[in-house]
């Protein structure tokens, strides 16, 4: 008996793996043919990976400083102003240093990143007048109400928005799949009781409750993730529960049961891979939803704590005085383009995963 199980098991898993990978490959190939979605995917992937290198591209700290015959790498290490003979307290201002060096006409030079401003640095020293400043050639998108560069904030905000949405989506999926699988697989009293709890949970006006919580305790990245996850898993649970209900009546599950497979094995190895399709194609839209939620919360002032670069917070500033049009327009363009790309990806994935082909007479 035990031997049989041992010998039969690897075969089974191998086979199911082979099938699932080949199906996935087929879908991936189909996805690649859907140009709009595929290119959106490449664009988002490229920018997201690039955004991790932003400290080297968008930063107030110089990449390399050559001073008095020695090389310094301020991006990686902090040097105070006196190191380079700059007469100011605290940090070195490398943009000014660069100018000083080129005025001196000596051997010293500074290599700045592509866009030499940081998201959390205020530029009041260099740009006179009351912030926010309108866009200029140096600061593409102007500055915000504290004189911080809007473009740098937008770019860093991109990384934070996507990372946040990915993390929340992943945790919501894990929670939703686990709960949905338990409800769908065991059914009966667990299901009825669980369904009631879910109904209560889903009827709670979620943005309202999130605002209540965030207004009482200042949220950080982790707390906000937890809160959004707590309200984000419900939709996935519905799908998974339904899939499990349907799948557990199939022959292959009966076969697995009759062979004495444990519940855990049946759930994880047999049913789960077969029931993931609808929620995979749902994922990009969940990400869109989570980005929108984060922007909305930031806009209301209950999102990530300052000084985190955030799109919603910029919009809020812009609406307080609509003459500062750049504070609304640029974050909105960033948000819109990002979401549009993800929607295109989602649409393509849905089409690639959808086995239904509609045909009609004309």
């Amino acid at each position: 008996m035990a031997e049989k199980e041992l010998t039969s098991k690897p075969e089974n898993t191998n086979e199911s793996k082979e099938i699932s990978t080949s199906v996935l490959m087929k879908r991936w190939k189909k996805f690649k043919t859907l140009k709009r979605g595929y290119y959106s995917f490449l664009v988002i992937l490229f920018f997201y990976l690039l955004s991790f290198a932003f400290p080297l591209l968008i930063n107030k700290d110089a990449l390399i400083v050559h001073y008095e015959g020695e090389y310094y790498f301020p991006v990686f290490q902090f040097y105070d102003a006196k190191t380079f003979g700059q007469d100011r307290p605290g940090e070195t201002n490398y943009r000014i240093l660069k100018q000083e060096f080129s005025n001196q006409d000596g051997d010293n030079w500074v290599l700045m990143p592509l866009y030499p401003y940081s998201p959390n640095e205020n530029l009041l020293e260099e740009i006179p007048g009351i912030p926010p400043h309108p866009p200029t050639m140096q600061n593409f998108a102007g500055t915000d109400d504290r004189g911080r560069d809007v473009f740098a904030r937008l770019m860093y905000g991109f990384n934070i928005s996507i990372s946040f949405a990915l993390v929340v989506t992943m945790f919501s999926y894990i929670l939703g799949v686990v709960i949905g699988a338990i409800l769908g697989f065991f059914g009966g009293k667990i299901d009825i009781f669980g369904q009631r709890l879910i109904e209560i949970w889903s009827t709670l006006p979620f943005l309202y409750v999130i605002i209540i919580i965030s207004s009482l305790v200042q949220p950080n990245f982790i707390l906000l993730t937890v809160i959004l996850t707590l309200f984000g898993w419900i939709g996935i649970t519905y799908y998974i529960r339904g899939e499990f209900y349907r799948e557990k009546a199939r022959e292959y599950v009966s076969a697995a049961v009759s062979m004495g497979a444990k519940n855990r094995t049946i759930i994880l190895k047999h049913i789960l891979p077969n029931s993931l399709v609808p929620i995979i194609s749902f994922a990009p839209f969940a990400i869109v939803g989570n980005i929108s939620s984060l922007v909305a919360l930031d806009f209301l002032g209950f999102g990530l704590p300052p000084p985190t670069p955030s799109w919603g917070q910029l919009m809020d500033q812009g609406l307080q005085n609509i003459n500062n049009w750049w504070l609304v327009t640029f974050p909105l363009i960033a948000l819109f383009l990002t979401l549009l790309c993800i929607v295109f990806i989602g649409e393509a994935i849905r089409e690639a995963f959808d086995p239904k082909v509609y045909s009609r007479l004309r």
């Binding site: 709890l197 009827t203 006006p205 309202y208 409750v209």
Partner: protein
Amino acid sequence: MISYFVRRFLLIVPTFLGITLITFIILQVVPGGPLEMELMKLRGMGAPGGEVGPTGTGTSGAINIPESALEEMKRFYGFDLPIHERYIRWLGNLLSFDLGRSYVYAEPVWDVITQRFPVSIYFGLIGFILSYAICVPLGVMKAVKNGSVFDFTSSVIVFAGYAMPGFAFGAIMLVLFGGGSFWDVFPLGGFRSDDFEYLSFSQQILDQLYHTVLPVAAYLTGSFATLTILTKNSVIENLSQDYVKTAFAKGISEKKVIFKHALRNSLIPIATGLGHFLSLVLAGSFLIEKVFNIDGMGLLGFNSIIQRDYPTVMGILVISSFLMLIGNIISDMLYAVIDPRIRFK
């Protein structure tokens, strides 16, 4: 079927209790409630008040609030009782339709909320009707002409709508048309002009319209994409059904097949959404109301959270979740009424 719906109605009670209990506990347990806020305000005001006081002897730093006053305040906010007693008392009042008194407005919560009903219903209803009037025909057109240039170009608009949160769309509209750096076409927000009562009737209508356009456009972006795609998919699915093929085979004209046979069945999932019009009127709008500074239910809810006006917060929760629960049931009822194949057990 009747027993099914009776059971559904009865199930409202435990669900409702659960919702209010969760929110009540969150409100009461988490620090920073109205009592703390009031104390902070008193302490904050203590310092400047002392400086300009008539005696001229400034009391420095925080003032001490006497024990008796503290007890008094605790009783006012209901914090003198343990939490379960507070909840039961609140629930008892609710059964006699008493939502308590608002801390901020010093009026019964019920009055505070109902005063804002007309504004929210006005925008909610217009947005709701317009979204159905635009999205359903558009979805049908897209399905009938699936794959055409029209379908493709309108899809771009639909995707754009999906990628644009309603409040963000409202914000950019305000920047463009609100008279900031660009065009001065529409007012900056609000429900009506301040001098509304002194305008002539035709001016009143015009004024109301001016204040309606942008917020309603923002409301529409929210539901535009989903409703259009829902309609389109539903129609496409029906067009590939056997009964449509049969109708074609009988030699009925395409127009008749689509509009007489397929369309009626395609509208079933869309019609069931009508059940939620109850909560649509109230829910999900506080972002837009905040952008346009419209004094409706959404803004009230938002402000009451910020001002720790707990009776109002709970009152809004009670009303909106109740409407949502009823809306769910009405949706299912509509389903059963429209589609005789569906039987609830």
